[in-house]
C-alpha cells in the first residue's frame, strides 16, 4: 500500500476511485455525503471498499466500511487501517 506516491495521497486516490466508480466529476470534499450527495447505497459502498482495498493493496473491514457516511470518514478508515498495517509490519 502506498500512502503518498506518484498516484497522490490516500485521500486523493480514494477521491479518484470514487469519481471513477460513480461517474461524478465534481471535486469531492471530506464532508461530501456518500449517500445523499453521491447516491452510493449500502451495496455500492461495499463494492467501493473492495475496489479501494484492491487498488491500495490492503484489506478493509467490511462492517466498518458500511458505517462510513462521508468521504472523510472513508478516508480516515483507510488511513487508520494503513497505519495499523504499518505498525504490525514494523
Amino acid at each position: 500500500m502506498t500512502n503518498s506516491s506518484e498516484q497522490g495521497t490516500v485521500a486523493e486516490q480514494i477521491q479518484h476511485i470514487i469519481c471513477q466508480q460513480t461517474g461524478y466529476e465534481e471535486a469531492l470534499t471530506p464532508e461530501t455525503d456518500l449517500l445523499n450527495d453521491l447516491a452510493i447505497d449500502s451495496l455500492e459502498l461495499v463494492e467501493l471498499g473492495l475496489v479501494i482495498a484492491k487498488a491500495l493493496g490492503t484489506k478493509l473491514p467490511r462492517g466498518e466500511v458500511r458505517q462510513c457516511i462521508t468521504v472523510g470518514e472513508l478516508t480516515e478508515l483507510v488511513e487508520r487501517v494503513f497505519a495499523e498495517a504499518q505498525e504490525q509490519s514494523a
Binding site: 466508480q21 460513480t22 451495496l43
Partner: protein, 423 residues
C-alpha cells in the same frame, strides 16, 4: 360493469434488436433470428442454436454505473419498459416518468413481471469468482442481481414505481400470468397504471443446462441450425430458446382516454388453468388448456366465431403441439377449422418468461398492419396437427380485430388472453 383494460404503450427487445419496428420488419421479411450460440461454451448441451441478441449495447440507454450492478435480464427489462413508457407518452423529456410530477408520485403505479430463469449470467460469473478467488472477490451486487424478482425491484427504483409489485414464475406462461394480473389489478382499482411484461436472458452455461435437462429442447439445434424451431411441423423436436423482453403500459380505458393516450388494443378477457398432471409434460387431452381459452373468451364476451386469429403457444415439443391442437378444437369447436393459427416466435425462438409478452407485441403490430405474421419453419403439418396454420409467409387479411393468445408452461400451466382492437 367492469372497466375495460387497454394497452397504451409497448416496448420490445427481441433477438433481432431493440424496438418493435425492427421486429416487425424482420418477421415480414421472413428472416430467422436463430443463430449458433457463440457467447459461451456449448459442448455440454445439444441445443446449440438460439435467438441471441449479440449486438446489445445497453450503454446507449443506461449509465455504466447502473449496468455493472445488474444482470442482462434486468437491462432488457429496463430498456423495454422505458420504450413502453415513451410510447405511452408517460416518459418526460427530463428522462423521468410522468408520475414523478404528480402529488401521489408512483404510489398508484404497479409492476408485474414474468420471468423464468433469473440472472444467471451475473450469478455464474460471481460463483466462478467465489470458487476460484474466494468470497472477497464476489461482487456485492450478487445479492440483488440474480433472482427473478430483481427486475421488479430495478424497475421500481429506476422509474419511482411505488405501488403493487409482483413477479410471476410459471415457465413459458409466466409472462401471460403477469399481464393478466396487471389487468386484474387495474380492474379491481388497486392501481391506475400498470407496467407489465416479461424478460428472459437464458444464454449462460448453467441456465442453458437447466433448459437442456428438461428434455424439451430441440436436438436438431445441435448443429446450430437456424430452422430448428418448428412448431406444428412434421420435423418438430422441441424448443429453441431466445432472449429479450417486452413491456407494456396498461390502464383503464376511461383514464387513458381522459389523458388523451393512444390506445393500442384492449385486453378483453383472460383466464388461467392448470393440468395437475405432471412436472414436465402437459395433459395430452388438452381439456384444462381448452378451459382457459373458453373462460378467456367468456370473460371477453365473445364466441369463437369472432376470433380473427390465434397466437398459439407452439412449443414444437411433439406431444405438446398435438395437445395444443386438441385443446383448440375443444375450445373453438367447428370454428377451429377456419381460424388462422400462427406462432411467429418460431422465427426467433421462445423467450419462456417473456414468450407471451413478445407474442402480445407482435399481435399489436399485426392489428396495426392487418397482417398475420407467419409461422416460419412450418412446412408440413405433423400428424394430429390439423388447424389452419399460417405457414412460411405472412397472410394479409380483411379483418384483424380480435385474437386469442395462448401460453403454456411445463406440466400444463395454461393461460389465454383475448386481445381486441379498440377504435
Amino acid at each position: 360493469m367492469s372497466a375495460k383494460i387497454v394497452i397504451t404503450g409497448m416496448g420490445v427487445i427481441s433477438p433481432y434488436g431493440i424496438g418493435s419496428t425492427l421486429l416487425w420488419e424482420k418477421l415480414m421479411a421472413g428472416e430467422s433470428g436463430l443463430k449458433p450460440l457463440t457467447t459461451f461454451e456449448t459442448s455440454h448441451i445439444r441445443c446449440r442454436a438460439g435467438g441471441q441478441f449479440t449486438d446489445f449495447h445497453p450503454e446507449a440507454y443506461l449509465s455504466p454505473r447502473l449496468i455493472r450492478k445488474i444482470d442482462r435480464f434486468s437491462l432488457f427489462a429496463l430498456i423495454a419498459a422505458q420504450l413502453a413508457l415513451q410510447n405511452a407518452q408517460l416518459f418526460l423529456d427530463e428522462k423521468k416518468p410522468a408520475w414523478s410530477q404528480s402529488g401521489q408520485g408512483g404510489e398508484r403505479v404497479g409492476i408485474t413481471v414474468g420471468n423464468n430463469l433469473g440472472g444467471w449470467e451475473f450469478a455464474e460469473r460471481e460463483l466462478r469468482h467465489l470458487w476460484a478467488l474466494g468470497p472477497g472477490e464476489v461482487n456485492p451486487y450478487m445479492a440483488t442481481a440474480w433472482f427473478p424478482a430483481a427486475v421488479q425491484g430495478n424497475l421500481s427504483i429506476y422509474f419511482g414505481i411505488k405501488g403493487i409489485g409482483r413477479t410471476f414464475l410459471s415457465d413459458r406462461a409466466g409472462g401471460a400470468i403477469a399481464m393478466m394480473h396487471a389487468a386484474d389489478c387495474l380492474q379491481r382499482g388497486k392501481a391506475d397504471i400498470m407496467l407489465a411484461g416479461g424478460t428472459e436472458a437464458p444464454f449462460s452455461p448453467y441456465a442453458a443446462l437447466c433448459y437442456e435437462t428438461s428434455g424439451l429442447m430441440s436436438r436438431q439445434a445441435e448443429s446450430g441450425s437456424s430452422v430448428a424451431y418448428r412448431p406444428f411441423d412434421r420435423g418438430h423436436d422441441g424448443l429453441v430458446a431466445a432472449e429479450g423482453a417486452a413491456f407494456f403500459v396498461l390502464e383503464r380505458e376511461e383514464s387513458a382516454r381522459a389523458r388523451g393516450a393512444s390506445i393500442l388494443a384492449e385486453i378483453a378477457g383472460w383466464a388461467s388453468t392448470n393440468d395437475g398432471y405432471d412436472f414436465v409434460n402437459p395433459a395430452a387431452d388438452g381439456k384444462r388448456y381448452a378451459a382457459a381459452m373458453t373462460r378467456a373468451m367468456q370473460r371477453a364476451g365473445i364466441d369463437a366465431e369472432q376470433l380473427d386469429c390465434v397466437f398459439a403457444a407452439g412449443s414444437a415439443v411433439p406431444d405438446e403441439d398435438v395437445s395444443e391442437t386438441r385443446a383448440m378444437h375443444l375450445a373453438l369447436g367447428e370454428t377451429a377449422d377456419r381460424v388462422p393459427v400462427t406462432v411467429p416466435k418460431s422465427a426467433f425462438g421462445n423467450l419462456f418468461g417473456a414468450a407471451f409478452p413478445l407474442d402480445l407485441a407482435i399481435a399489436l403490430l399485426a392489428f396495426q398492419h392487418q397482417v398475420i405474421p407467419a409461422t416460419l419453419h412450418l412446412d408440413h403439418p405433423a400428424p394430429g396437427c390439423d388447424l389452419d396454420y399460417v405457414p412460411r409467409t405472412p397472410r394479409s387479411v380483411d379483418r384483424l380485430e380480435c385474437c386469442l393468445l395462448n401460453a403454456r408452461g411445463s406440466g400444463g400451466a395454461n393461460a389465454s388472453v383475448v386481445l381486441r382492437k379498440r377504435v
